[in-house]
Symmetry: C2
Subunit: 324 residues, 2 copies
DNA sequence: CTGAAAGCGCTTACAG
DNA sequence: CTGAAAGCGCTTACAG
């Protein structure tokens, strides 16, 4: 106690204009000396806002996701919001469970990255009291708010580039089928082939799981073909990593014998040997956009837009003209 | 209202034994149908526990840190704790600021990864009300609780391996000097040289910044030496990435012309070309240990130990016997 | 087994 | 500019 009440202290600490400058300063000094720290939980209870958001990710160790979270955290911090982080392990039930937990914690909003929540779960998420923004969600749904990379345009760009180099037999090494981003990237692949009058050969489309290990077997299949492809367009950089290893195992050189293109432009991709040609997803900026969408919702301007972010083809040394 | 009071509802939802099974079930059903979600913030206010921990990291986009956070989150989730995540950008003031913010949020504990908080800040952290565990902290300090990789042993192992291969001119490409992990890894380097009766040549020790870009200039210096090293022991895998690129730029081959060793064993290191020989830090497990230390403190068994985790040398294809 | 009461630590109209 | 009072949504002894 410093001679005043409760209320005055509260006002002094929040810099209310309803308190004289000198008492305010005195109180702040005493508070500092005593090591007083306002209880954000008590404040939340009365204000009804927690100044907190929840981020659910499939796996924080995935470098794409870590980049996105970095952008989210940065923006949240600028606005004095704290962020809860939870992994879903790409399990839909878990995703719903952690979202519910966030709701109990009275977060002001939730961002879900690469949501795996399918049709059966959407209602559970939709009926939550908390605004939700989806980033690169893997199931088309009626969510009002989302931030997504423009997969079709981006893979179209990458494919057109390969075709311009002279490639005629281009393979697509996808993610597990069924997810939206895989379907859209395949769509770009397909469309580019059609544009160029090239046949869509089924044996040139294979599926991994978005990780290096998972890409090795399908890449091997491709290389074992009677007429192997001269270029492989991969679902993401991690898949490209597995494909490249497999290419080397077969004694082939990149890009002389076969070109490889990735998707994401992970931080490390420029340091690979050879540096990887890929489509850049501006992960940090996408995280930022998702957070800003939430901020807009908090401010009441509920636009309800689905934001599409363009990808950018980054040409490096893993691609070249085909052999013959 | 379902015919009972406040208190009974609270008891029913928390599965208290002080309530009849049938009323409990009825209440739970009604709660579910009404979409009722307990307010964790109100609960925290009365219980005095938030079931929440804060994790401060230098940069979540760093793959080592993402691995650690993954282990923390996993363990926290198993114990029904939610985790706050904040980046410090390796700025000591910011680190203190976010730790304070966590204190306001009444987290039950804090884990700081790769703390950059130097001597002048330690008191600020020490005087907090919340238990703190440091993971790979970068300044020796009087913190009771810490989890650290055994840097000296690990780099000793790596160096002994290189010496056994026949290398006599081995360089150390470190982090910015002044940090504990750099100092300790250098110590292992130094000690191994002494053991083998090899001279400690100053020009063979250079400093980067723990990132690929930052390693390129010092690596170039090394390669420009009249007698360049036959092996480079790098502070971490990211530095090794930059060093390897520089080696290639100089037209040299790895490992035929020069061997490269990293530290961390990032997920992607096994997929590099060539796959990187490195010291594995069990990041996930280290995160888990930090969280378990916090759990122990919560349970009152305040051991006060500093945990040292051994590193493991992983031999891959970036190392070989020296040329001549 | 259930209810009535107090209280966790704040904020914020409402008076003065 | 400051104080007294109510209340945010829970939990938990205390009675019964």
């Amino acid at each position: 106690m410093a001679g005043v009440t409760h209320s005055t202290v509260s006002r002094a600490l929040r810099n209310s204009s309803l308190v004289s400058l000198q008492t305010a300063e005195r109180i702040q000094r005493i508070a500092r000396e005593a090591g007083y720290r306002t209880s954000a939980v008590a404040r939340s209870l009365v204000t009804g806002r927690s100044d907190t958001i929840g981020v659910v990710v499939t796996n924080i160790a995935d470098p794409f996701i870590a980049g996105v979270v970095s952008g989210i955290e940065e923006t949240a911090d600028e606005h004095d919001l704290s962020v809860f982080l939870a992994n879903s392990n790409a399990e839909p039930e878990r995703e719903v469970r952690v979202a519910r937990k966030f709701e109990e914690r009275r977060v002001d909003g939730i961002i879900v990255t690469a949501s795996r929540v399918g049709a059966q779960y959407v209602p559970l998420l939709t009926h939550m009291q908390v605004p939700i923004v989806l980033l690169n969600n893997q199931h088309p749904s009626q969510f009002a708010h989302s931030v997504m990379i423009d997969n079709v345009q981006a893979s179209l760009d990458a494919m057109r580039y390969l075709i311009r180099l002279g490639h005629r037999r281009i393979a697509y090494l996808g993610d597990r089928s069924g997810y939206q981003s895989d379907a859209e990237r395949y769509q770009g692949y397909h469309q580019a082939l059609r544009e160029a009058g090239l046949p869509l050969e089924p044996s040139l489309t294979v599926h991994g799981d978005g990780k290096p290990e998972g890409a090795e077997a399908p890449a091997a299949e491709l290389l074992a073909l009677l007429q192997p492809p001269t270029a492989i367009f991969c679902y993401n950089d991690l898949s490209a990593l597995g494909a490249m290893r497999q290419v080397r195992k077969h004694g082939l050189r990149i890009p002389e014998d076969i070109s490889v293109v990735g998707f994401d432009d992970l931080y490390i991709s420029q340091y690979l040997n050879p540096p990887l040609t890929t489509v850049r997803q501006p992960m940090r900026q996408m995280g930022r956009l998702a957070m800003e969408t939430l901020l807009l919702i908090f401010a009441g301007s509920d636009s309800g837009d689905a934001i599409r972010v363009p990808g950018e083809l980054i040409v490096r040394e893993s691609t070249a003209h085909p052999r013959k």
